[in-house]
């Protein structure tokens, strides 16, 4: 019996490596874990999209459960998610925009045409704040917790499924202390 045991070694190695590869097939290589999750949201201060003289800073988000959504008019998938963001905003979810590598005129006509789901959008044509936020592209959506920490980051469009499955449970947890009037309208408990 033990004489043949060593023949099992290559088979075991094959099975182990095959197991890793099989697991790898199901992983999304674009799912880069965010270094910011669990850490305080990065500070920023940007002019807003709609008014170059107005400023939006990270202090505006402090103490709120809110979303930060990275968008740009050059980003096709942003158009895909936009309708759902408008729905969330209508339910009362505070969404702050980070407009990335865009020009102001296009961004304003986009908001006028498709609706504006954002409380405000920061204007970041050079991607300076985006680097601080570890943004790789658009669309990306961050969930900011009541304590000002980044709770979750989602890369790729926000869909009803993503909202229900990934965001809502975390939002409900953040809202346990109350103060999220939007929760019921946005599908939460």
């Amino acid at each position: 019996m033990w004489r043949y045991a060593r023949y099992a070694i290559p088979v075991a190695i094959f099975v182990a490596i095959g197991g890793f590869f099989y697991r790898g097939l199901g992983l999304n290589p674009n799912d880069v874990p965010s270094a910011l999750v669990g850490k305080p949201m990065p500070k920023f201060s940007l002019p807003t999209v709609t008014d170059p003289d107005a400023t939006i800073t990270s202090d505006a988000l402090q103490g709120k459960v809110a979303l930060v959504n990275v968008w740009g008019t050059w980003c096709i998938e942003c158009r895909h998610e936009h309708g759902f963001l408008v729905q969330l905003a209508q339910a009362g979810v505070p969404i702050y925009g980070l407009n990335l590598r865009d020009d102001r005129a296009s961004a304003m006509s986009w908001l006028a045409q498709l609706g504006n789901p954002y409380v405000t959008s920061g204007f970041d044509p050079k991607g300076v704040a985006a680097v601080d936020w570890g943004v790789t592209g658009a669309p990306e959506t961050f969930l900011i917790g009541r304590d000002g920490n980044v709770i979750f980051k989602h890369i790729s469009p926000m869909t009803p499924q993503v909202w229900r499955h990934d965001f809502l449970p975390l939002v409900e947890e953040q809202c346990r202390a109350g103060g999220c009037e939007f929760l019921a309208a946005a599908g939460g408990r």
Binding site: P33, G127, V131, G134, G137
Partner: protein, 140 residues
């Protein structure tokens, strides 16, 4: 003389790599420029996965090159710059990951396999030492 021509050609070859992606030389000081070019080869583009930010034309890679130039201009060391980037984009952006509780296996792995291979090799050699040569070798 010919040595200096060679140096000049090699330096220009390095400079042309910088031209290829950003249209201009990052630093007029050649040693800073060399440092810059080798640093951006060690940083992985977070969007395009299998390219360094030196090779990628993704917008985020251009932004990260700009940040690297800015930090180098501020006199930051390579380690400071890597800290800056990995605080934002994770260890993922470092092509040479640091030793940490999640990466120690990666670093120790090759040495573990080397030791295992060495033991196997030693055992095979030792077990054959006592054996007589086979027919062909003893005939020769």
């Amino acid at each position: 003389m010919s040595r200096w021509i060679l140096v000049g050609v090699l330096w220009l070859a390095g400079a042309s790599a910088a031209f290829a992606i950003d249209q201009e030389i990052a630093f007029s000081d050649p040693s800073m420029n060399t440092r810059y070019l080798s640093l951006i080869r060690e940083i992985r583009c977070p969007k395009c996965l299998n390219e360094s930010i030196a090779d990628s034309d993704a917008p985020v890679a251009a932004d990260l090159r700009r940040e690297v130039r800015r930090l180098m201009g501020d006199g930051k060391s390579d380690d400071d710059i890597k800290d800056f980037l990995s605080a934002r984009y994770g260890d993922f952006v470092l092509y040479r990951p640091r030793v940490s509780e999640t990466t120690w296996a990666l670093w120790a792995g090759p040495f573990v396999f080397l030791v295992i291979g060495g033991i196997v090799f030693w055992r095979i050699v030792r077990s054959r030492l006592g054996q007589p040569l086979d027919d062909e070798e003893s005939a020769a």
